[in-house]
Symmetry: C2
DNA sequence: GTCTATACACAGATAGAC
DNA sequence: GTCTATCTGTGTATAGAC
């Protein structure tokens, strides 16, 4: 059995980069194929439609966040401050590596008033993020306050990414991350 | 001299609604023309390209904010709290009337990594907004703090709009507006 | 000023050779 | 599994009749 030249994971990673930078509608199947070093025809062998590529990209990316970022909130041996610091730094690095800021926020803004196709996975991403934030904050604040602050950290980070992208200045996100860490 | 059936302002308002809801790339010239009750051919009589329509939409909308929202910050007879309250309420109403949240933030996210075409006007919009916020806060806070808080209010509002759009829940933006007013 | 008709490029998607 | 070739729709933009 011959080994395929490019792995599914590699296809998804390259596609995520392209979608994140150019947006969903602006990205063509030709763009995706070329990013993966393939022709359109070959690319269609792996995915049946652009929508399907996007769905798998969102699911793959969401799982990556769950396994590599949000999981930090539930590590038993860390203090609340250590968790928040570690998780926030990881978010900072993720959102500033490559171009395009937050893949999920971009997709919300681009698609949420045009189609519901991706709403489920988008909501799941933000829900998992919020749960992780609230879980950390619960060891420092009463429940109502922790929930309020958890929501607020995400709002703060996403807003800072918009202004970071406009001005090309990481400081916006850095300040937002600092505010998160100061909560613990 | 015959009067034109549709005014330039009407063309821009309808185009802004369409761009705001569907995004720049997803909106076609046919969409814009139909929103104005015209055919593509007639629409091209008014604007030479889609990029030109967008530029004029952004400029028109930015001027509208300057004349109808940001100007509140400089009304001499109001207290800081009154200014912040009035301006924030106006922002809330604007961002929740019709669909699409913040036209400018949407355009930042959609275009800033693809082309620089609209960056100038986008930066002006956010700069004018920040100046207005900082001007109000300067009567309550020392300069460094006022500038920091001014930036933060915008980050907060823009982030809340992202989550508002995802969940279809105005409360996100309402909470952000409340936090702004509480600063004064 | 608005219309129909059209040119041309590129999009998403499929078929079939290798 | 990848390629080339092709189908079909739609996009931007223009030309010319009314």
């Amino acid at each position: 059995m011959p080994i395929q030249k490019i792995s599914r994971q590699e296809l998804l990673l390259k596609s995520i980069s392209t979608f994140r930078e150019k947006g969903y509608y602006r990205t063509s199947m030709r763009d995706l194929a070329e990013a993966c070093g393939l022709t359109k025809g070959a690319f269609y062998h792996h995915f049946s439609s652009k929508e399907e590529v996007m769905k798998h990209c969102l699911i793959f990316s969401c799982n990556w966040f769950k396994e590599n970022v949000y999981t930090i909130a539930y590590l038993p041996k860390l203090t609340a401050k250590e968790k928040m610091s570690k998780m926030s730094q990881k978010l900072l690095k993720t959102f500033t590596t490559g171009n395009g800021g937050c893949f999920f926020a971009n997709t919300v803004i681009e698609t949420s008033h045009v189609e519901d196709t991706f709403k489920g996975i988008l909501k799941e991403y933000f829900q998992e993020w919020e749960s992780a934030m609230v879980f950390i904050l619960l060891s420092k604040y009463p429940e109502v306050e922790a929930k309020k602050l958890g929501k607020r950290t995400i709002v703060d980070i996403e807003g800072s990414i918009v202004l970071m992208q406009l001005h090309g200045d990481i400081q916006y996100l850095q300040d937002s991350i600092d505010r998160c860490i100061e909560l613990c």
